[in-house]
Amino acid sequence: MEYLIHIAVLVCLYGILGLSLNLVVGETGLISVAHAGFYGIGAYVTALLLVGLGMNFFLAMALGIIASGLVALLISGVISRLRGVYFLFGTIGLNIIAWSIFLNWQSVTRGPLGIPSIPRPGIWGLDLYQNLQFLFLAAASLAIVYFISVFIKKSSFGRVLNSIREDEEATQIFGYATSYYKLAIFTIGAMLAALAGALFATYITYIDPSSFTINESIFIFSTIVLGGLGSSRGAVLGPLLLVFLFEGFRFAGFPSEIAAQMRMLAYGFALVLLMLYRPKGIWGTFRI
């Protein structure tokens, strides 16, 4: 049961990451692989405030979210001018910069040593040290992010995002300053990713730069492609399936000499099959 709870918490975390990235990639058509960077900023800021200053969890999390939002705002001032594959390269660079800072700013982040013993949050005297209680917190956060995502999608703001995705120049001709819209949604996505980061840091209780590499961004990206770009349901379903698939391979009964390698292989193979037969993902409305 504990193990299922653990997986459920992971599903919630990746659900939040998927939903927030879907706003950027699925709704606006900006191909971003910088998500793990913002996820990491949220995790690091929260962890440092909790460990260093013993701050209240929710306050630390809020500051983590704000920090990530500020970074995204500053950077997207530059990269929201980019389009298509150039935007993609911009975000690759961003993720690498974020990762390098986690790795090299040792006086603050402790570099490759990581930050151990991050306290679990307590809420109204209720200790969330138990995984089941943490799951409620994670699920509630997922629900909130889901509603934010649906709300954005249905708003007039969301419709402009969709039209940027379909044809940015046409949208500009109608008088929309598209780079501001891109900047706004990129920042919102980064802030929601930081929320997942704050939960991750306090759940796993240890963070180091290896959790926030570009590979992690690609994993998040692949979850929403599986679920279907432009679909909020898909952005939760994709992470659910991939996390289950990935963990499920532990039980596939491969011989022990090659079990771990087979697990990675089968996972890669599943992604290739998906791209071949269902490039739109499960509930996708949009294809890159």
């Binding site: 299922l4 570099g111 490759p112 040593l113 990581g114 796993i204 209780t205 379903l237 698939l245 499920g248």
Partner: protein, 386 residues
């Protein structure tokens, strides 16, 4: 439109299948507590079986399996066979936590061997402690693991021990006041530098440090900068001998011949010592290298070669990995297969003789002693004498 509907109906079926099969296999593995009295003794093993650190994970898995096969061939533990369940931790905190959750809560193991790196071990320990499972690492050397939990111990010394030994000799015996450090950006090197710097500065010395990331191959500018500092000695602090060799080669090109301090990762590499014999003459180092004349270690090395066809690499890590299996065997034989009892028992390990030498576990879970100081002479390391 109809195509879309059919497609999504199909997808629903796939989703349902994955959830049902996944759920069933996860719950199925859990159903019915494994027989604790007669069935095989299941021990969890976590290591980097894939990813960048798999170069350590592969021999680690082989070494553990070698010991388990030996035990099973001679009747197991109290008549019960031993079975290892290997999970991939990828030297990454999250993967380590996933693996530990599965081993502790699904397989219900009472003991976990691993992780290999400090990063994965740091997340395994809290999960194991909650499930009252004992964790033994053969090679996680981070000082952050010292005293982390009563359920954790390691027959491998903390990096603090190595840093301490080197700093003391450098300052007190050698009289070096200023040491330049060229350091690779990996947790091992960072941790070791911290301890070295702390002890060395505490004694009154001063360090100047330049860092490089693991993929760098040109050290000339960094070395030139350090040379200009006119240090009494240069501490070459890397995780891989390949980097050390490049550094030494480029120092020669720059015609810089300082006194050298080496960490064990390079001092343990025969090729480095013989190729750069003249440059390294008199270099100070400290190793946790099991005594090569130890009969148990020799047997491990020859058995490993016979079984897997390659030389046993990373003796400093693999000898403890091999010993852990036998330590657990002794523990299980004396207190039974119970994580809580094994954890208490682990603190009573004293002068236990294994392939890595004499193992004594202190009350904070670390191996006592371990690092001994050495000097390089004629391409070989020998014990340091004042």
């Amino acid at each position: 439109m109809e195509r879309v509907n059919r497609g999504s109906a199909l997808m629903w079926v796939i989703v349902a299948l994955v959830v049902v099969v996944g759920g069933f296999s996860i719950l199925g593995g859990k159903g019915g507590a494994p027989s604790t009295e007669t069935g095989p003794i299941k021990i969890g093993v976590i290591g980097p079986l894939t990813g960048d650190a798999a170069i350590y994970g592969e021999p680690f898995r082989n070494t553990v399996q070698l010991a388990i096969d030996e035990i099973n061939a001679t009747g197991g533990i109290g008549g019960r066979q031993v079975e290892a369940i290997y999970e991939d931790g990828q030297c990454n905190g999250k993967e380590g936590a996933n693996a530990a959750q599965k081993l502790v809560n699904v397989d219900k193991v009472q003991a976990i061997i691993g992780g290999v790196c400090s990063g994965e071990t740091l997340t395994v320990v809290p999960i194991a402690e909650k499930g009252r499972v004992v964790v033994v690492s053969p090679s996680a050397s981070s000082p952050a693991l010292t005293g982390i939990s009563p359920y954790f111990f390691r027959p491998y010394p903390s990096d603090a021990s190595q840093g301490n030994v080197l700093a003391n000799i450098a300052y007190t015996d050698k009289g070096w006041k200023k040491v330049a450090v060229i350091q690779e950006q990996v947790d091992y090197a960072v941790g070791l530098y911290k301890v070295f710097n702390q002890v060395f500065s505490g004694l009154g010395g001063k360090t100047v440090k330049e860092e490089f990331s693991s993929n760098v191959t040109d050290f000339r500018s960094v070395l030139t900068k350090l040379k200009a500092e006119k240090p009494d000695a240069l501490f070459v602090l890397t995780q891989t001998a390949a980097s050390t060799q490049r550094i030494l080669k480029q120092m020669e090109e720059l015609n810089w011949k300082p006194q050298i301090i080496l960490d064990e990762a390079s001092a343990g590499d025969k090729e480095t010592l013989t190729t750069y014999k003249s440059q390294l003459e008199g270099a100070l180092t400290s190793e946790f290298i099991p005594d090569l004349s130890n009969a148990k270690l020799q047997k491990l090395m020859s058995d490993y070669k016979a079984k897997y066809g390659t030389e046993l690499p990373y003796l400093g890590y693999m000898a403890p990995a091999y010993d852990i299996v036998y330590i657990l065997k002794d523990g299980i034989a004396s207190v039974g297969y119970n994580g809580e009892k094994l954890a208490t028992w682990s603190r009573t390990i004293k002068d236990w003789q294994g392939a890595s030498g004499s193992v004594t576990i202190s009350s904070d879970g670390d191996r006592v002693g371990g690092y001994s100081s050495e000097v390089v002479h004629d391409g070989k390391t020998e014990p340091y004498k004042k």
